[in-house]
């Protein structure tokens, strides 16, 4: 292979971050920027306290917006897509998401039950005072 040529499009795979022609690429980045900015603004708006959302649902709403924005970043900035040329990247991402989910959800689950089940009443009082 010629070392001076960018070797895109010649194989069946693409690297994360690989892009097509420049007009389409700029347009994709712009779409990503607008979507991400919109989702960020929505997050700050929801967190600022709005009467449109049932208050205990705010955390869920924020989580949904954050996950949506991460998806926007992955697709429009890192160019992780579901195309046949992207299978390796998507599979690696799926494994990463699995581990991240296990670590975060598992930690919260375990610590919640530790707090709930394994304390004598006086310590529970201490925990309440700390809150």
């Amino acid at each position: 292979m010629n070392q001076n040529e960018p070797d895109t499009g010649k194989s069946g795979d693409v690297a994360p971050g690989d892009t097509g022609d420049i007009g389409t690429s700029v347009r994709n980045y712009l779409i990503g920027l607008v979507l991400a900015a919109g989702l960020t603004a929505a997050s700050f708006w929801v967190a600022g306290g709005t009467s449109l959302i049932y208050a205990p649902g705010v955390a869920m709403g924020l989580a949904a917006l954050a996950i949506g924005q991460m998806g926007v970043h992955l697709v429009f900035f890192l160019h992780i897509t579901t195309g046949p040329d992207n299978t390796n990247n998507v599979l690696a991402l799926a494994f990463g998401v699995l581990i991240v989910g296990i670590v975060i959800a598992g930690s919260l689950w375990i610590m919640y039950h530790l707090n709930g089940n394994m304390m004598v009443p006086s310590q529970i009082m201490d925990m309440h005072l700390q809150h």
């Binding site: 194989s11 967190a47 989580a63 809150h131």
Partner: protein, 244 residues
């Protein structure tokens, strides 16, 4: 057997092996590993499997990008540990300041905007470098770096303000977890800025060589990934912490 004879036989064998590998031996056709298949060859239809199998190893750009993607995913897993620690400890304020009292959402919004625009401009710089436009590549990286620096300055001034108020990492478990998580992200941004500086210098000094372009691609992936991590931080730490 005399030494000269041994050397001669050895030499003949070596030559034969070289000839075999290079395909000069009669009756042997050389195998071409890097024959480029035309674009979209894997879509030709059922039964015609001329995809990756006949091409040999993938181009270096693909391999490098994939490897760096694996690294980024491992970085996400590192951060997930810090996220989990923060989520577990965020209520353990030990009578000290609570998230709602400490954080200033206006600063966080500006930091977020800086990082998002920086990520976008970094993408533009990558496109400019792929198009071999030195001026726009350098301008793009420069803007990316200035915005990243603005983010860091805001973040560290917030840290300084908190430390001055006595809300340092030693105050409570919540603040330890906070400084660990946000500080780790800030450390990543700092490293990213150093890398950015070396990328600008490399493009300037070495031009748009294939290896430098690969490094630029990896840097862009790194910078975008930092933005993804920041999305998690501003939601989990700042917005959830201050929402009524």
């Amino acid at each position: 057997m005399p030494a000269a004879e041994l050397a001669r036989i050895d030499h003949e064998r070596r030559q034969a092996r070289v000839a075999l590998v290079e395909g000069r031996e009669p009756g042997i056709t050389p195998v071409k590993y890097s024959e480029p298949a035309e674009h979209g060859a894997h879509k030709r239809g059922p039964g015609v499997e001329v995809g990756a199998r006949n091409q040999g190893p993938a181009p270096k750009r693909i391999v490098t990008g994939y490897g760096f993607w694996i690294f980024l995913l491992s970085d996400f897993i590192l951060f997930s540990g810090f996220y989990a620690a923060y989520a577990v400890l965020s209520h353990a304020t030990a009578g000290g300041p609570t998230p709602g009292k400490l954080f200033n959402l206006r600063t966080v919004a500006i930091e977020t905007a800086f990082l998002l625009i920086s990520s976008f401009v970094c993408g533009m710089a990558t496109l400019a470098s792929n198009a071999r436009n030195m001026l726009w590549t350098q301008i793009g990286y420069c803007v990316t770096g200035v915005l990243g620096l603005g983010f860091l300055i805001l973040e560290f001034s917030e840290f300084g303000r908190m430390l001055a108020e006595g809300a340092g990492p030693g105050r409570s478990a919540f603040l330890s977890a906070f400084f660990a998580l946000v500080g780790l992200h800030g450390l990543h941004v700092t490293v990213g800025l150093l890398w950015l500086g070396t990328m600008m210098a490399q493009f300037w000094a070495k031009g748009f060589r294939a290896d430098v372009l690969r490094r630029g691609m990896c840097f862009a992936l790194f910078w975008h990934a930092l933005d993804i991590i920041w999305v998690g931080i501003f939601t989990n730490v700042y917005l959830l912490g201050t929402s009524p």
